[in-house]
Symmetry: C2
C-alpha cells in the first residue's frame, strides 16, 4: 500500500505537466504516439508472420493463411452488422421453433379432444387437464429456474434501457426459463401472447451474444453500445414475432424508450427486417406457405376499401376501444392488487405457488369447453384461428355461413344453430376480456398483446357486422354498390384496442404488416389516435401499470399538453437539505452522515462555508473508507504497536531474563489469536479502555480520500431549470438524481422521487398547481434572474472588498452612499 | 440611471433573504401566494362579471355569456390538439390548392402544345416558353420577396430544430414566397418535387399560427414548446404532401432530428393523420376520387406478390440504387460548386440572376420536347403520369402495350415504334438523372425527393421488365404460373433510390402509403437497407450535403459502427487555451479579451488562480458593458463635471462678470454640440490630454457585472467524457459549445468545430485513429483516473496544510517523506 502511494506521489509532477501546458504537449505526444503506433502495429504483424515462417517451415503458408483469416474474422466480428445478423437469425429460429412447438401442443390437445368424442366427461377431462398440466409445469419450471422470466418483460426492458441495472434479468438461465415456459404457456391454449416475452427473449439473446462475442474482442464491453444493441434487440423481438419489421421497430421504440437516437434507428430496422425475413423463409421452407406473405393475410377489395361515411363508425370503434383499453389495464391491476391484499388467500397461494395458475387455467378452460359454454363463444378456436376468422373478408350477418365455407371451416364456430352471431360475438368479447386480464396475472412468461388484439378484432367485427346488417347494400349512394366489409372493421378494432392498452400508435403499422393490406390506413390511424387519446387520459399503459405494481424505478411521462410543466422550476421541487461531506471532514462526520442518511451517493463539497460542489461519492466507498480506518487490521496493528511499546517500557523497568521474553512473545501470539476470534468482546474486555480511546482518536482524524472513487461530474442543474427540461434531461441521460448548484455552490438535490411527485402531483391537482409556488417571482426576467444577480453581487462585493483600494470613480453605489 | 441603481441596491437585502434561508421562506411564501392567487383570480372574475352586470343592465346576460364563452375558448385555444388540428387543416388546404394550381398549369401547357400541332416550331416555342416564363417568374419573385424561400427547406429545418436561430426563415414573407414560387416552379413541368418545400411551408405555418395564437394566451411563447410544434409540423408537411401520415412522421424524424422525444410522437401522428385525411377528403369532395384511397394506387396481385427467388434481383436494385443515390448527391454538389467556382460565369450569373434558371429550363425542356428527343424518353408525360405508368401492374416487355390500354393511355408514351422499351427506359433514367440534379440547383423553392422517386421507379421498372423478359412464365416452378410483376420492382426501386439520396429507411413506409399496398414489404425493406448501407458509406445525404454547401452549423452523425468513438475522450479534442474573464477583472482585461478572441460567449471564472467556473457571458453583453463604461454619455458627463470644476476654480480665481458667465455657458454648449458630431477627433483635440487620462482611469476600474446577463449554467463536461457521450449530449441538447471542468475548475472548452473535426477525422483516417492519441494513458482505471486523483490530491493537500496541525497518523505522504 505504501508503495502504491509512493508511485502516485512520484507520478504527480508528470501529470502536473500533463494537465498544465497540455496545449503543446498533447499535440506532440499525439503525433508521436500515432506514428509509433502505426509503425509498431505494422512491425508487429510482420514479425508474427516472419516468426511463423521461420519456426514451422513446412505448412507455414497454411498457417499464415489461417492467422490472416482469423485476424480478418476477428476484426469483422466487431462490426455491428455481423452482430445484428446473428441476432436476427437466432431470434427468427427461436421464434419459428417456439411457434412450431406451440402448434404441435395445440394440435395434440385437439387430437385428444377429438378422439374422445364418445364420452363428454372424458372429453372435458382431456380438454381441461391438458392446459392445467402445461401451465402448472410452466409456472413451476419458471419459478425454479429463474423467477425473473415471469411475465411480459417489456416493463423490465423499459427500466433497463433507462439505465437501471436489474440483476439476473439478462442471464442464460432466464433465457431458458423464458423460452420453455413461454412455449408451454402458449401451448396450453390460454389467452396469452408471445410478443412481450419475445422482446425479453431478444434482449436476452443480445446480451448473451454480446458476452459470447466479447471473447473475440473488447468492443462488446462498452456499456452505451450494449444499451444501443438492447434497443435494437427489442425491435427484433417484436419484428420476428409478427413478421413486422417496421411495426416492430416503432412499437419497441414507443414502448421502451423516452428519447430515441435516430442514429440507432437503422440497427433496429436492419435486424428486424433480417429476422422477419428469415422467420418467413422458414415457413416457406417448411412448405407452410408458397412464398413470403403476411402472417394473417387479408383479401379486402382494393378499389373501394371503405366509404367516407363509414368514418364515424370507425371513430366510435376508436373511442370505445380507448375506454376498453383503460378498463383492461384497470382490471388487470385490480386482480393483482386483490390477490396481494387478501392475506388469507395470499398466504395460501404463497405456500402452494402452483395452485393459483392451476385454478385460473381450470376456470378458463372449463368456460371455453366447446360442448359446454364454449359453444356460445367459439371456444374451440385457438387464438390464431379466431383472428383468421375475424379478419375474414366475408360478411357473416347477411350470408349463410356454413354452406359457403369450403376451406378450413373455422368460421363455423361462430355460427350457433340457436344463437345469433351477434350474441356469440358479444359473449366472446366479454368472456375473453376478463379471461385475458386474469390469465396475464398467472406467473408464467406471457404477454397480453395478442389476446387484446383478438378481442379488439372481435369488437371491430361486431361493429362491422352491425353496420353491414344496417346498410345491406353499403352506404355509397351513386353508382356501383359497395357492400360494407366487416373484416376491415375488425382490423381497425384490433389496432385500436391494442393501441389503447399499450399506449402506442404503431399498432397501426403492425396491423398493416400482419394483414398485408394498408388500404384501411386512414380509419386505422383515426381509431388508434382516438383510442390513445381516451386511454392515456384514463389509465397508464399496461406496461407502466406493471412497472408501478412491481415498484421498478420509473419516471412518468409528461402527458398530453400539460403546459404548466413549462412553468415549474427545479427550485420549487428540489430538496434543500442535502447530505454532503466536506473535503476536510473527519471520519466522525463520515460516520454520522452514514448513520443518518440512506442515499446511495453523497455530495462532496469543498468546505461547509463555500459549498463548492467537487463531485459525488458512492455510499459503499465511504463505508469502505470508514471500515478501513477502524477495521481489524489497523486495530491489530495498533495493539501490536502498543504491546511492543509497553514491552519496551517494561523491559526498561524490570529488565527480565530471556525465558521471560519468550513467554511474553507466546502470550502475545495467544492474545492475537484470541483477538482474531472475538473482536467484538474486546471493547468490553481488558483492553476496552485504550481501544475506545484509540477509536475516538481515529474518528477525529481527517479523511484521506486518496483511494476513494469520486465521480467528478455528477449531473448539475440550476434553480431556474424548468421541470420540462429537467424531465428531458433525466429521461435522456437516465439519471437517478441531480445536484442543484448556484455558481458552483451546492444548494439542493433533485431525485427521481421529487420529479415523479412534481409531475404526478401537477397532473392530478391540475386546477390548483397551474401557477406553481413562487411563479410570480420569475415573470420579470428571462435569463438573468434576481437570484443569480444576487449571488454575483455577493461574490463581486467580496472580491471588491478584498482587492486593493482603487481611485474612486462616480460608480452607482458611491453615488448612493454620498 | 442613478435611480435605477438605487432601486437595485435597495432590493438587495430582500433578495439576500430570499436566497439565504429559502428553505422556510419559500414554503411560507409559496403557500401564501397560492392561496392569495386563487382568491384573487376568483375575486377578479366575479368582479368583472359584477361590473358588467352593474354597468350595462339590459343585455347583461348576453354579455356575461359572451365573456364566458370567450374565456372558455381562450383556455381551449392553448391546448395542443387545437393547434395541431388547425395546422393540419391549413396545410391540407395549402397542399390541395397548390396541387390544384399545378394541375391547371400543366394542363394549360398541354393544351397550348396540343392546339398548335399544325406547326412544329410553334409547338416547340409554346413547349419551351411556358416553363421558362414560369421558372423565371418563380426565381424572380422568390428573390425579391424572400430569398430564404429558395430550395428545399429541410436542411434549414434540421438546423433550426438543432436549436440554431436562422433569421427570416419563419416569416410570413417567406411563406408567401415559398407557396407561390413552388406552385410556379412545379407548374412548369420541370423535374422538381414539392416534398421538401412542404416541410418548410408546414413549419412556416406552425410558426405563424403560433404567433397568431399567442394573441390569445401566453403559452405559445415557450421555446421548447415551439420546437416540439415545429417537429410536428415537419411531419405534417410530408404527411399532407403524399397523404402518408406514418411515412411522413418517420421521414421527418429521420431527416430533421438526431434525437427524438417519444412523447412528441403523437403530435406528429395526430396532425399528419388529420392533414392527410383532409387532403384526401378534398379530393373526394372535388369528385376526383370516389373515396379515400392512396395517391398512386397499385393493383398488384395479393396471393403471390413475388417469389423467394426474385429476392436477389431486389437486392441488386438496392445496391445499385445506393450507388446511384450517392452519385446523385455528388453530382448535385458538383454542379453547385462548379457554378460557384467559375468566377466569370458566376459574375455574369450574379448580375443577371434570372438567366441561370432560364437557361437550365430551356435546356431541360428542349430535350424533353415530345416530337424531338422527348419521344425516346416519354417526354410528354408529367412527373405524376410517369409515376402512374411506371407503377402499372401490367408487363410492358411481353404484351403489346398500345392495344390493351383503353383508359388514359399514358403508357403509350413509353412505346416507340422504332425503339425498344428498354432503350426508352434507360434514356429516361439517364436523362432525368442529370436533369433532376441540375434542376434542383435552380434558385426556386423546390425539392428533389419526387424526381428521385420517379427515377428510382423507372430503374426498378427496367430491372422488372428485364426479369419478365428473362422468365416469361415466372420463376416459381411447382404448380400455378405466377408471372413476374414489373410494377413491384418499380415500387422497390423508387423506395431504394429515394432512401439512398435522403439516407432514410422510412421511404419504404412512404411507398406503401403512396401505393396503398404493403405486399412487397420485405423486398422493399431489403432494398432500402442495402441502398442506405451503400449510400451512407459513400456520400452524406442530400440534405447534409446542402447543409455543408450552405455552411450551416451542423454536427456529423456517428456513422455505422465506428467503435473507436467510444475510446476518444474530451481531453483529446478540447481546446485548452480558453478565453475567460475573472470576476475581479478590470475593463482593460475585458477590452483585451474582446480584441483578441472571436467567440460568441466567454467563460466567467472566479479568479485566474482558482479558475472556478461561475458561468458564461455573451460577447454582446461584454461589449455593452465596455461601451457603457467608455461611452459618450459618461464622457460628456465627465467633461461637464470637469468644466464645472474648472469654472468654479476660475470663478474663485478671477471672479468674472455675469456676461462672462453667459458666454462660458454658450461656449460649453457649442463644445458639446461639437462633441456630438466629432467624437473621435476629441482625443487629438484640445481636450485630448485629460480625456486620454480619463480613459486610462476608466479602463483600470473593476468591472461591474450587476447589469449583465450571465448564464449561470453553461454546459459542463469532464475530461474523461467519451466522444460518443459528448456527441450524444451535444445533439440532444443542441449545444454550440461546452466547458470542460475538473472539480469546478475550468480547464478547456469543446465547441461544435472540435467535435466535428474529431468525428470526421476519425471517420476518414479510420485505420490510423483506432487508438486515439493518448489512449494508452487511460487503460488502467475505469472511474477514478489519475488526473482526477491528482486534482483531489492537490486540493486535499492544500486543505490539510491550511487546517490546524493534528496528531500525525502513518499516512502515505508522511511515510514517504520520512
Amino acid at each position: 500500500r505504501w508503495c502504491l502511494g509512493g508511485v502516485q506521489n512520484l507520478a504527480l509532477p508528470m501529470y502536473g505537466r500533463y494537465t498544465q501546458d497540455l496545449g503543446v504537449y498533447a499535440k506532440e505526444e499525439a503525433a508521436r504516439l500515432r506514428e509509433s503506433g502505426q509503425r509498431r502495429s505494422v512491425a508487429d504483424r510482420s514479425r508474427t508472420l516472419d516468426l511463423l515462417e521461420y519456426e514451422k517451415g513446412r505448412c507455414a503458408k497454411c498457417r499464415i493463411c489461417t492467422v490472416r483469416c482469423q485476424k480478418f474474422l476477428i476484426s469483422r466480428v466487431g462490426e455491428d452488422w455481423i452482430f445484428l445478423i446473428l441476432l436476427g437469425l437466432l431470434m427468427a429460429l427461436v421464434s419459428w421453433v417456439v411457434d412450431f412447438c406451440i402448434a404441435i401442443c395445440l394440435q395434440a390437445q385437439k387430437w385428444m379432444y377429438g378422439g374422445l368424442d364418445s364420452n363428454v366427461f372424458l372429453q372435458y377431462l382431456a380438454w381441461v387437464t391438458y392446459p392445467v398440466v402445461l401451465i402448472t409445469f410452466s409456472a413451476g419450471f419458471t419459478q425454479i429456474l429463474a423467477p425473473q422470466a415471469v411475465g411480459s418483460g417489456i416493463p423490465e426492458m423499459k427500466t433497463i434501457l433507462r439505465g437501471v441495472v436489474l440483476k439476473e434479468y439478462l442471464t442464460f438461465k432466464t433465457f431458458v426459463a423464458k423460452v420453455i415456459g413461454l412455449t408451454c404457456a402458449l401451448g396450453s391454449g390460454m389467452p396469452l401472447g408471445k410478443e412481450g416475452p419475445f422482446v425479453h427473449i431478444a434482449s436476452l439473446c443480445a446480451a448473451l451474444l454480446s458476452k459470447f462475442m466479447s471473447l473475440f474482442g473488447g468492443i462488446y464491453e462498452n456499456e452505451s453500445r450494449n444499451i444501443e444493441m438492447l434497443a435494437a434487440a427489442c425491435a427484433v423481438g417484436v419484428g420476428c414475432c409478427f413478421a413486422a419489421p417496421i411495426g416492430g421497430v416503432l412499437f419497441s421504440i414507443e414502448v421502451t424508450s423516452t428519447f430515441f437516437a435516430v442514429r440507432n434507428y437503422w440497427r433496429g430496422f436492419f435486424a428486424a427486417t433480417f429476422s422477419a425475413f428469415i422467420f418467413r423463409v422458414l415457413a416457406v421452407w417448411n412448405r407452410d406457405e408458397e412464398t413470403i406473405t403476411a402472417l394473417f393475410k387479408t383479401r379486402f377489395r382494393l378499389d373501394f376499401p371503405f366509404d367516407l361515411q363509414e368514418l364515424p363508425a370507425f371513430a366510435v370503434i376508436g373511442i370505445a376501444s380507448g375506454f376498453g383499453g383503460a378498463l383492461f389495464v384497470y382490471l388487470n391491476r385490480l386482480i393483482v392488487q386483490f390477490i396481494r391484499k387478501q392475506k388469507a388467500i395470499n398466504k395460501f397461494l404463497m405456500k402452494k405457488r402452483l395452485l393459483y395458475p392451476a385454478l385460473v387455467t381450470l376456470l378458463v378452460s372449463t368456460l371455453t369447453f366447446p360442448p359446454g359454454f364454449g359453444q356460445f363463444m367459439a371456444g374451440k378456436l385457438t387464438q390464431k384461428e379466431s383472428l383468421v376468422t375475424l379478419l375474414d373478408n366475408r360478411t357473416w350477418a347477411k350470408q349463410g355461413i356454413a354452406e359457403e365455407f369450403d376451406y378450413i371451416g373455422h368460421s363455423q364456430a361462430w355460427k350457433h344453430p340457436q344463437v345469433n352471431v351477434f350474441v356469440t360475438l358479444v359473449l366472446f368479447i366479454v368472456m375473453k376480456f376478463w379471461m385475458s386480464a386474469l390469465a396475464t396475472t398467472i406467473p408464467v412468461p406471457c404477454g397480453a398483446f395478442m389476446p387484446v388484439f383478438v378481442i379488439g378484432a372481435a369488437f371491430g367485427r361486431l361493429v362491422g357486422e352491425s353496420m353491414a346488417a344496417w346498410f345491406p347494400d353499403g352506404i355509397h349512394t351513386d353508382g356501383t354498390i359497395y357492400p360494407i366489409v366487416p373484416g376491415g372493421y375488425a382490423v381497425v378494432g384490433a389496432a385500436a384496442l391494442s393501441g389503447a392498452v399499450t399506449h402506442t400508435v404503431s399498432t397501426a403499422v403492425i396491423v398493416f404488416e400482419l394483414t398485408g393490406q394498408i388500404s384501411h390506413i386512414l380509419p386505422v390511424m383515426i381509431a388508434v389516435i382516438l383510442a390513445n387519446a381516451v386511454a392515456q387520459s384514463l389509465q397508464p399503459s399496461l406496461y407502466d401499470s406493471i412497472i408501478r405494481i412491481k415498484k421498478l424505478p420509473y419516471l412518468p411521462e409528461l402527458g398530453w399538453g400539460h403546459h404548466e410543466k413549462y412553468n415549474i422550476r427545479v427550485e420549487d421541487i428540489m430538496v434543500r437539505d442535502v447530505r454532503y461531506i466536506t473535503l476536510n471532514c473527519c471520519y466522525r462526520d463520515l460516520h454520522n452522515v452514514l448513520l443518518t442518511g440512506h442515499l446511495k451517493t453523497l455530495a462532496l463539497v469543498e468546505t461547509a462555508e463555500s459549498m463548492i460542489l467537487l463531485g459525488s461519492i458512492e455510499r459503499a466507498q465511504l463505508q469502505s473508507l470508514l471500515s478501513q480506518q477502524l477495521g481489524r487490521p489497523r486495530r491489530l496493528e495498533y495493539i501490536r504497536e502498543r504491546a511492543a511499546a509497553e514491552k519496551k517500557l517494561m523491559s526498561v523497568v524490570s529488565n527480565p531474563g530471556s525465558e521471560d521474553e519468550s513467554q511474553r512473545i507466546s502470550q502475545e501470539v495467544r492474545f492475537q489469536v484470541r483477538a482474531r476470534h472475538s473482536c467484538n468482546i474486546w471493547t468490553h474486555g481488558n483492553t476496552s479502555g485504550f481501544i475506545a480511546e484509540w477509536e475516538e482518536k481515529q474518528l477525529d482524524e481527517q479523511v484521506n480520500f486518496n483511494n476513494c472513487k469520486i465521480d467528478p461530474a455528477p449531473f448539475q442543474l440550476v434553480e431556474r431549470t424548468s421541470l420540462h427540461k429537467t424531465h428531458t434531461i433525466f429521461s435522456l441521460l437516465g439519471l437517478d438524481h441531480a445536484y442543484v448548484t448556484s455558481i458552483g455552490r451546492l444548494i439542493g438535490v433533485v431525485s427521481l422521487k421529487e420529479l415523479r411527485k412534481a409531475i404526478e402531483g401537477s397532473v392530478t391537482v391540475k386546477g390548483v398547481k397551474v401557477r406553481p409556488p413562487l411563479a410570480s417571482f420569475r415573470d420579470s426576467g428571462t435569463s438573468s434572474s434576481e437570484n443569480e444577480t444576487t449571488e454575483l453581487h455577493k461574490l463581486w462585493d467580496r472580491h471588491k472588498s478584498m482587492s486593493l483600494p482603487r481611485e474612486h470613480t462616480p460608480s452607482e453605489s458611491d453615488e448612493k452612499s454620498q
